[in-house]
C-alpha cells in the first residue's frame, strides 16, 4: 500500500483507503512534504477509542493540484513537529485540546480555543471541571525588565468587533511580542455538524464565520455533494461563483474603508462604508439576505435570477465598482496614507511560508497561493481568476492585494452575470454512502476554507473538520507586530482582518 492516498479537491474516497502508517512514517512524510514546500490543509483527530486516536492529515500540493491523505494512530502523546515545521503548531495544539494527544516538545503548547475534549480522554492541559475561564488561566509569554510594560486588550474591544485577548510586551512604544489568546467565541460548531446532512448543518456552516457565509456554505455543500457523487448543475455553479465573488468584493471594499478609517483618511473610509452595501445588496437581490444566507443548498442554489434582472444587476455592479475604484485610488495616492501603510507590519515571504499563511495575507508576501487557482472547484474549473500578489508583505501590500482582487472579482461577476448558462439550479442530494471521506476546499475572501467530511456506517457525517483561513493566519498577525509601534496595532489588525468565530468554531 502506498504511503499517501492521492486525491483532489472535491473528490470522495473510501475512508478505509486512507493508509494508516506507523507514527514515525506518518510524521516523516508530513515533515518532508512541509519542508519541500507542501502545506497542511488539515490535520485532525477522526476518532478516539480507549486512548488511541486516529489522526488524519490532508497535505496540499499546490502546483500539482493534489491532496495527499494519510493517517496514523497515536496513543496519548507524540513528538511535536512544530519546532521544525511551525505551520503545524496550531494543528498540534488543536489535536491536544480535542483529543488529548500531547505533542511532546511543542514550543508553544497552549490551549487553542478552550474547547472541551471530543472524546473520553484526560485533558492535555490538565484542566478539570469547573473549567477555568480565559484568559485568567493562560500562561502568557512575558518579557522581563525594568522598562518593559505589558498592555492587555480585550476580550471586549473598543469597536463592534468579536472578542479576543491581546497581550503586548512593550518597550516604550515598541512591541517586543504580541500574544493572542482566543476561544471566547467557541460555540461547538464542529460537533453540531456531526449527524448531518440535514437539520441545522447548513445554518451552522453559514454562521461559523458569518462574514463568510457563502464561502463556508459552499465548502460544506461541496463536501456533501462530493460524498454523494453529485455535481451541482452549471447554472448553480455560476450563481455560487458570483455569490462568492460578491462576498469577496463586499468584505474587501469594507476592509479598504476600515483601513482608511484607521489612518484617518475619511474620504475613502466613508465612501467605502457606503459602497460596500452595493455588493451586499446585490447578494440580497439574488437571495433576500445581504450576507447570502439561504442562497446555497446541497445540490445547488435555492434562488434563480431572471435574464433581464441579471443584466441589470451586472450594470449596477459595474457602476458600483467604478465609484469604488475612484474612492480607493484616492487612498493609494495619498502620501499621508502611504506614510502609515508602507513598511508597517511586514511579514517576509520566508516567514509566510514557514507559518503556512493563506489568502490575501499570503499573497501580499509574494506567495501566489489561491485555492481558485491551485485546487479549482465549481465554476473556477472553467473560469480563471488571475492570482493577485504583491511583494512587500506590509499593510500596503495587504491593502493593494485586496484592491486588485476586487477589480478581478468585479469583472468576473459582471461577465458571468451576463453569460449565465441555461438549465436547472438545483439537484436533489441523494443519501450519502457510508464510510466515505472528502476534502473540500474553497477560496473565501480571507483565504483557504477546508472541510474534511467523513461519513460513518449509517451514511451520516461522523466528523466534519472545519479549518477557517484565520486558523492559519492569527500567528501571522502576532509576528507582524514584532518591532512595530503599539499604536499601529489597529492598522495591522485590520489589514489581516481575521475571524474570531471562524477560529474558535
Amino acid at each position: 500500500m502506498a504511503d499517501l492516498l492521492e486525491s483532489w479537491n472535491g473528490e470522495a474516497v473510501a475512508a478505509g483507503d486512507v493508509p494508516v502508517l506507523s507514527l514515525e512514517r506518518f510524521q516523516g512524510i508530513v515533515c518532508d512534504v512541509l519542508t519541500a514546500g507542501g502545506r497542511v490543509a488539515s490535520l485532525f483527530g477522526l476518532a478516539s477509542q480507549g486512548g488511541r486516536t486516529l489522526v488524519v492529515a490532508a497535505l496540499a500540493d499546490d502546483p500539482d493540484s493534489r491532496i495527499g491523505l494519510l493517517s496514523t494512530v497515536v496513543e496519548g502523546r507524540w513528538p511535536s513537529l512544530a519546532a521544525e515545521c511551525p505551520a503545524i503548531q496550531a494543528f498540534e495544539r488543536e489535536l491536544a485540546e480535542q483529543y488529548g494527544v500531547v505533542p511532546e516538545g511543542h514550543p508553544w503548547l497552549k490551549p487553542v480555543r478552550f474547547e472541551h475534549p471530543h472524546a473520553e480522554v484526560p485533558d492535555a492541559f490538565g484542566r478539570t471541571a469547573p473549567w477555568p475561564t480565559i484568559p485568567g488561566d493562560y500562561p502568557f509569554f512575558r518579557v522581563e525588565g525594568e522598562e518593559i510594560h505589558e498592555v492587555a486588550v480585550g476580550p471586549v474591544h473598543a469597536g463592534i468587533i468579536e472578542p479576543g485577548h491581546f497581550r503586548f510586551q512593550c518597550h516604550g512604544e515598541q512591541v517586543l511580542h504580541l500574544e493572542i489568546a482566543l476561544g471566547y467565541q467557541h460555540r461547538g460548531a464542529e460537533r453540531l455538524l456531526e449527524g448531518g446532512p440535514g437539520g441545522r448543518g447548513l445554518a451552522v456552516a453559514e454562521t461559523i464565520a458569518g462574514d463568510t457565509s457563502i464561502g463556508h456554505a459552499l465548502a460544506y455543500c461541496s463536501a456533501l455533494e462530493a460524498l454523494a457523487g453529485l455535481e451541482a448543475p452549471p447554472r448553480a455553479s455560476y450563481l455560487r461563483g458570483i455569490a462568492l465573488e460578491l462576498e469577496r468584493l463586499a468584505n474587501h471594499v469594507g476592509d479598504l474603508g476600515m483601513l482608511a478609517g484607521d489612518v484617518g483618511f475619511q474620504p475613502t473610509a466613508s465612501a467605502c462604508g457606503a459602497l460596500r452595501a452595493e455588493f451586499l445588496n446585490s447578494t440580497a437581490e439574488i437571495c433576500g439576505n445581504r450576507l447570502g444566507r439561504g442562497l446555497l443548498v446541497p445540490g445547488g442554489v435555492r434562488f434563480d435570477i431572471a435574464p433581464d434582472e441579471a443584466t441589470r444587476l451586472a450594470e449596477k455592479l459595474a457602476r458600483a465598482w467604478e465609484l469604488t475604484q475612484q474612492s480607493v485610488r484616492l487612498f493609494f495616492r495619498s502620501p499621508s496614507v502611504r506614510n502609515r501603510t508602507d513598511g508597517t507590519g511586514v511579514v517576509s515571504r520566508a516567514l509566510c511560508n514557514e507559518l503556512g499563511l493563506v489568502g490575501p495575507a499570503a499573497r501580499a508576501c509574494g506567495v501566489g497561493r489561491d485555492v481558485r487557482h491551485d485546487h479549482p472547484f465549481g465554476l473556477y474549473r472553467f473560469a480563471h481568476v488571475p492570482v493577485a500578489t504583491a511583494d512587500s508583505g506590509d499593510v500596503f501590500a495587504r491593502a493593494w492585494v485586496r484592491y486588485v482582487e476586487c477589480e478581478r472579482s468585479a469583472r468576473f461577476v459582471v461577465n458571468h452575470l451576463r453569460n449565465l448558462p441555461e438549465g436547472p439550479t438545483r439537484a436533489q442530494l441523494p443519501p450519502l454512502p457510508p464510510d466515505r471521506l472528502t476534502v473540500s476546499m474553497v477560496e473565501g475572501w480571507r483565504g483557504e476554507i477546508v472541510y474534511v467530511a467523513v461519513t460513518g456506517a449509517d451514511g451520516r457525517l461522523a466528523r466534519c473538520k472545519v479549518t477557517d483561513p484565520s486558523f492559519h493566519n492569527w500567528m501571522g498577525l502576532a509576528q507582524a507586530l514584532r518591532g512595530q509601534q503599539i499604536s499601529d496595532f489597529p492598522l495591522c489588525n485590520k489589514s489581516f482582518n481575521l475571524s474570531y468565530a471562524g477560529h474558535d468554531l
Binding site: 471586549v156 453540531l192 465612501a271 435570477i305
Partner: protein, 291 residues
Amino acid sequence: MIEILKARLKLGKQTVAYPGGPARFPERFRGRPVLDPARCEAGCVACADACPTGAVREAGLASMTLDMGRCLFCAECIDACPSGAVSFTRDYRLAMRTREELLVNALEGDEAKLARALDAKMRSLFGRSLKLRQVSAGGCNGCEAELNASGNIQFDLSRFGIQFVASPRHADGIVVTGPVTENMLLALQKTYEATPAPKIVVAVGACAISGGPFAGSPVVNDGVDGTLPGVPVDLWIPGCPPHPITILDGLLRLLGRVQGDELRLAGTGIVSAAEPLPVLPPGESNPAKIT
C-alpha cells in the same frame, strides 16, 4: 484635494430616506412571517421538520406559531411547504419589547406588532442621546457587521444621537450578539456591571435571543436571557442577521422617535414586480418566472 471633492460629488447623498421616507428593500427580502394554517394539508408538518432551529410549532393547527426569536429567515420552510401556508412579507419592523411578542401566529391576525417606547422617564434620559456598548458573545460577525453598517453614512445611527461607544463606562446600555458562549459569559456580565445605571439591554439576532443555530450546544447559553441574573431584556431584534433598518427601526421605536404603524416600503430598482418569493422545486428551473 480636487480629486477628493470630485469623487465626493460623484458619490452624491448616500444616507437612506428612512425614517422620513420609505425604506428600500429587495423584493426577496424576508421580513415578518405570515402564517395561514387554513391552507395546511391535514397532518402535514413539513415546515416544522425543515426548520433548522425548531421555530415552527404546532404546524398544521389553527394555533400554529412561528417564533421570530428562533427564525433564521432562511426560507427552508417555504421550500418545504406544499401549500403556501408560510410566507414572509417585506415588513422590516421586527423588533419587540418582550420575548412573547416575537411569536407570530395566525390567531392574532396579520397585523404587525410593533415595539413600544420606553417609559417617559427613560425617554427623557435617552431619547435624544443613547450611547451603547456592544458585546459580541459568540456572534459570528454577521450581526456585528450589520450593527457596524447601521453606523455608516448610509444608515447613520448618529443622526438620532445613537452611538456605539468604546467603553461600558460611557454607555447607557449594552447590545448583545451571539448565543453567549460559556467562554464569554463572565466578560458579558462584567461589561453589564461596568455600565452605569439606569441602563438598557438589547438582544440582536437569533443567537442572542434563542441561541439561533447553536441552541442546545453544551458550550453556549442559548442567548442572553438569564445570563444576567434578574436583568430583563428591553428590546429584542430578531433576524440572522437583522437588516440595519430593522435595527434602526427597533431602536427608534424604543426611544419613541418613530411611532405608528405606517409601513413605507420601496423596491431597490433591480428586481421589479412585487410578487411572492420564488421557490423552485428541486431539479427544476423556471428562469422566466422569477420576479
